[in-house]
Symmetry: C2
Subunit: 213 residues, 2 copies
DNA sequence: ATTATCTATAGATCTATAGATAATGC
DNA sequence: ATTATCTATAGATCTATAGATAATGC
């Protein structure tokens, strides 16, 4: 019975190619590359398995499309708040919170990235090419600002790379820990929303505080 | 040619069961559950694939043995420094660094934990049972100390859970990012040792600093 | 005609077990 | 006798493709 159980992404104007892409995205984000089969993707999209290969030829291809897409989205919004009127510290806080918000809107992404970079580090090189000058552009601007803020005594001396690592660690790892945090606190999905909001401001405060001269 | 290429874990007094266990540990830690096959484990251990099942019956069994083992090791060394003569802050620094060192000695572990908790959160319940009173014991002691340090004005007000999250995030995520950091900085494995040492002290300083009243 | 979708299947794993043989403990 | 190890294989995937049929664009 129930020969075809179309996932929640059926019809509704969307093209089947798009539907498959979204089904794959959902599964890859939640379970990683190896644990997702094209058969599962087809079931989730509500079509047969051959169609997945018709549009994307290989599973690897499909994954790479999604992966590059997500990484680019992620990188393009990294440290983009740049308001002349704000102090370094205020600007930093806004950037930290914006970064947190991107991750909160794509909570499966950290797992996908870590999973892929760990099991398949060669892909980093291809990603680097894909992003071009973007990362070093962002880094150089931030680096100049950090040095100036240190020189002006607004913050304590710190390497820019360490600051970036601290921001990314505190923002990203929280979402990787979600299952553990939920198990420990016993919070429902709803209650977890509150925990997220608290953590968002705590992370920003922690970093800003740690930079006091 | 080269019909049998025994991994680096052959013979040398060790029992074959132990050799298989270590081969599996290495592969699971580096590649996760789904991407490791019992065939690969056997090749790494230098035996045939059936023997892996002879000793551990199922792949799942083998994995669980290793997983529980590692989680217990990890949890049992969490916040164990407890020297009466030290201030809260000094004790905290020692605990942060000790925690960092455990991870540095088991650099594949964070990936395994995150991977498993994300794709298979049910296992958390079984782990919880396995650890018994240990986590809440550690938590309660730390919580009392945090509250006292706040009351005495040694640190700013902070929830104990937030402090734990911050410590774990900063320590663990760095090792998950290793491939990225190495790609960005272009550091060799040797040079990465230096980066680790710098990060170790930077993380502790960042946290201690962020707690100033 | 071309494009989208399906059914069917080849070929490659992979896990787990059965059954044979070798090694070891009395 | 018991335990350790091997060879062989059944049965379950899973990916990718071939080839049939249905839908769509002229």
């Amino acid at each position: 019975m129930a020969e075809t159980i179309p996932g929640d992404m059926a019809d509704s104007g969307k093209t089947m190619e798009q539907t498959i892409l979204e089904a794959a995205e959902k599964l890859f984000l939640g379970r990683g590359y190896a644990m997702t089969s094209t058969t599962m993707i087809a079931r989730e999209a509500g079509c047969n398995q051959a169609l997945v290969h018709y549009y994307f030829r290989t599973k690897e291809n499909l994954f790479e499309t999604i992966f590059k897409n997500k990484v680019t989205l992620f990188a393009s919004r990294f440290f983009t708040v740049d308001d002349e009127r704000l102090s370094f510290t205020d600007k930093l806080r806004k950037n930290i919170e914006a970064h947190f918000d991107i991750i909160a809107a794509n909570p499966g992404l950290p797992f996908l990235l870590i999973n892929e970079f760990t099991t398949n580090p060669e892909r980093l090189a291809s990603i680097k090419k894909n992003l071009g000058e973007l990362p070093s552009g962002i880094y150089n601007r931030l680096d100049a600002e950090v040095r100036q803020a240190i020189a002006e005594g607004e913050i304590r001396p710190i390497a820019t790379l360490d600051l970036i690592l601290t921001v990314v660690s505190l923002n990203v790892f929280f979402f990787l820990m979600r299952p553990v945090v939920q198990q420990i606190t016993g919070a429902t999905d709803d209650q977890f929303g509150t925990i997220i909001a608290i953590r968002r401001s705590e992370v920003a405060s922690t970093i800003i505080n740690s930079l006091k001269p």
